[in-house]
Subunit: 157 residues, 2 copies
Amino acid sequence: MRILAIDPGYDRLGIAILEGTASKPILVWSDCVTPPKGAHEARLAAVRTAVEESIEKYSPEVLALEKLFFSVNKKSALMVAEARGAILSVAGAASLPIVEFAPGTIKLAVTGHGAADKKAIARMIPLLIKLPEKKRLDDELDAIAIGITALSGRFPQ
Amino acid sequence: MRILAIDPGYDRLGIAILEGTASKPILVWSDCVTPPKGAHEARLAAVRTAVEESIEKYSPEVLALEKLFFSVNKKSALMVAEARGAILSVAGAASLPIVEFAPGTIKLAVTGHGAADKKAIARMIPLLIKLPEKKRLDDELDAIAIGITALSGRFPQ
């Protein structure tokens, strides 16, 4: 199973391709896409292009996303929802099935604890999957964590 | 000025092309796109396609949208925001400038009253712009109202 895992955002988009099995997940590629500052719709277009290119290049069989809940900042939630819309419209056009996981589920999958913090996630991911050496932003690690959750097949969507 | 006006939605998308002037707005085309029931991402892909096709066919110079505010139904607001994201990513890719109006501004523009109801909008639109005879859903009328607001050039975005 080859998975496209995305941590949605309009300013930073974590994106990863994973394959393998629950016990031996393999990271094929990951990145943090940072659409240049400017008009919101231009950033959404950059998000769309990044997703289209990753589907074209890696032919994933499923798209795994983090579920969006309302944050304290409602405006930010709507803008992230718009990024999700740009991503989902590409996945829909490519007939890619979607799996979504709540943030707590993803934390549980990679740390064993549903209320784990970002540091715990950053510590655990290299123990679960072989990562090429490079500096990564949280968004990229989050995308990898989403991919690990989807590969495990053990968690409710 | 040729305007693409959209009332965003994932189940019903009002869409209209207007041109002309503030005192003589002309409706070039309008429709209510109804993506078939099914996976949300497939509906968003249908939204995207409808917007892409209208841009290709009518070469608008600007996209006018209704601003999204939080409704009582938060889940519905997020899903409409996802539809907006699909629409905006297409506009961004086509380098189409965006103008957005608050719902009260659109009501004010077409009825003279910012708290007008849907009936008042439906009554006023045929007095402001020549409409071909056909049955229209509210979403299509709303898109036409957004286009009239944008053409008038009198209202804050």
